[in-house]
Symmetry: D2
Subunit: 204 residues, 4 copies
Amino acid sequence: MKVTILNCSLKKSAEPSNTAALLKEMTDFFKQEGAETVTFRIADLEIPPGVKTKMGDSDDWPAIHEHITGSQIVIIGSPTWMGILSSLAQRVLERMDAMISETDDQGRPILYNRVGGVVVTGNQDGAKHVMSDIAGALVQLGLTVPGHSYTFWNKGPNASENYLDTDYGHEWSRNTGHMAAHNLLSVAKALEASPIPFHKSMKQ
Amino acid sequence: MKVTILNCSLKKSAEPSNTAALLKEMTDFFKQEGAETVTFRIADLEIPPGVKTKMGDSDDWPAIHEHITGSQIVIIGSPTWMGILSSLAQRVLERMDAMISETDDQGRPILYNRVGGVVVTGNQDGAKHVMSDIAGALVQLGLTVPGHSYTFWNKGPNASENYLDTDYGHEWSRNTGHMAAHNLLSVAKALEASPIPFHKSMKQ
Amino acid sequence: MKVTILNCSLKKSAEPSNTAALLKEMTDFFKQEGAETVTFRIADLEIPPGVKTKMGDSDDWPAIHEHITGSQIVIIGSPTWMGILSSLAQRVLERMDAMISETDDQGRPILYNRVGGVVVTGNQDGAKHVMSDIAGALVQLGLTVPGHSYTFWNKGPNASENYLDTDYGHEWSRNTGHMAAHNLLSVAKALEASPIPFHKSMKQ
Amino acid sequence: MKVTILNCSLKKSAEPSNTAALLKEMTDFFKQEGAETVTFRIADLEIPPGVKTKMGDSDDWPAIHEHITGSQIVIIGSPTWMGILSSLAQRVLERMDAMISETDDQGRPILYNRVGGVVVTGNQDGAKHVMSDIAGALVQLGLTVPGHSYTFWNKGPNASENYLDTDYGHEWSRNTGHMAAHNLLSVAKALEASPIPFHKSMKQ
């Protein structure tokens, strides 16, 4: 089982990322269950705007594209800014848009029979909106989103603290992350054993 | 395979419902594939506000609750008002909230290993937001949302026409509905064959 | 200056409402500044679904309609369920939809030159999404939404406590509520002194 | 009256932008009314991710920051991708986040007494969600969002056409754009004549 994790923090890896810290809880679980994980820190890479698989000569997206289509599980990790997903999370979704018209060798959309999960951090509020927007986009792209396949952390009104600054609520966020990883693995295995077959309506 | 369909149109069944018309495309597909469908027209029923399974003496919700927990597939059909899901769709989600604390005989949340889909109609805009909000809520409730498990119809800016007034875009909406029904059935079967097993993190 | 406040809690007034408690901070400020406030507890009233000003014989909406069109300020207070506005908040927006086609004596949409604000409570997350959805709907209805015209309270991941159970974050939510009330009053006065004039594009 | 327009199309100015075409309807109206407009094509500029006013040496944001704080009206133009605002629109909101802690010479948040509007294009659906998310963010930043201060265009289900490919619905989108520009100018003038005064709650 292969897992591609896209950390859409606005910070490059020189700075500590709260999203990375919460994603790690999921990654550890995946590894412990024998799944291979690859994490991309989007802010470190050059991912130009656009909705094609390759946008110009210095585009780091094609390598991510290859990892996604070689994985059974895709995780989007996003911080929350003004209650909205990060610009880098939306950048990733825009670049995935090109996958809608790709098909596998049986004519099914390329992302069918793969599952998607979401991890959201923020200091105040907005995790469920970000989760729903990303989950809705993943469903539009053809991925299946299992029940309880997300975790999140925030700290309520006027919070000046981030995930890494405190232990507040960590246990819940960690446990929920383990449940999410378990559900993602389980549904990925179910779809591996009994994949969605081709249907003529997919030809549209 | 049993399917519960909740039509959250604001209109009672004496009036024609655009949402019902688009839901029918899915229902026909389900029947043709041998699945049993039961449709509830929420506006015809008394569903008081609240987040418990039973809210007072004249509450029609408990019967719906029983149908949902006896089904493998749940479909929410909603019109769009100001780009937001209908008050009856949100009412249904609020009443489903009580299911979060119910578990099956193996200790898993009661809605695990069931799949959810969405149908949205509107005369102007908002289908994807409604789909994402409902899909996000279904995932929070424990249902799995398959790739391409929704269909929708609207008519763009300043449209005064509804689904039943025109043929505009019907073919796409119908075909997408068939694809959704196919995907919902396929993922429901996959989870029936290989269900998400219990994990200790579900005890939280 | 007249203020209509719509408390869209799912609970009737026999039960304590967290939304009412936070709304009171705004109401106190309005009163202290000499504004008249009227609060409707939506769950106590009969507001049938629909998008007309009068829906059947036992409809409590027409009285609210009259209060709204007689006010300069309208506040929607909503709890958060699964990160979404309450079914009663959406019910109120649906019923306000009929106001889009009403005009004042100068041909302007009836809700022009009035301002709208939002109060959101919840035990976990979702305030900003609810605020944006309601603010966006108010703008579609013709109301002006001042900067910082909202307040909210939640308690982050896995919170089992509500606003009335704790003092956590109250000071911020109260202060933000006062700022919102001040801004709503100030913009309402500015529009009273210099109203948006009629323009032919409003005739559409 | 000065207007800053941020076109958040994913395309650089070498390619025709549907968002630019619809924004032009607003710009023409502003010019005709004697307002000065400056438009930034975000995709042409280097705007690194982050939430500070200056992010590194080659950052084009500080010039935009200066224009925004020198304007009474700010317009965000965004395409729609999977029903969500563009990554460049969210980038702009993230960079504006730093303005929350800036104040004017009277201690008010720097964006007070300015108004914001939204223009959304897309080939299918999602305008109202994008409008609400952006309007909600502008209100969080301190801008006032007038009633009917947006316009949009899309083409319903399965639309393969963009704004520039057809005349479908243009008249409504154009007229709505004129109404929006009129309302933005009117509320900006009202706030110029009667600005929101300082209040101690702003000190938080």
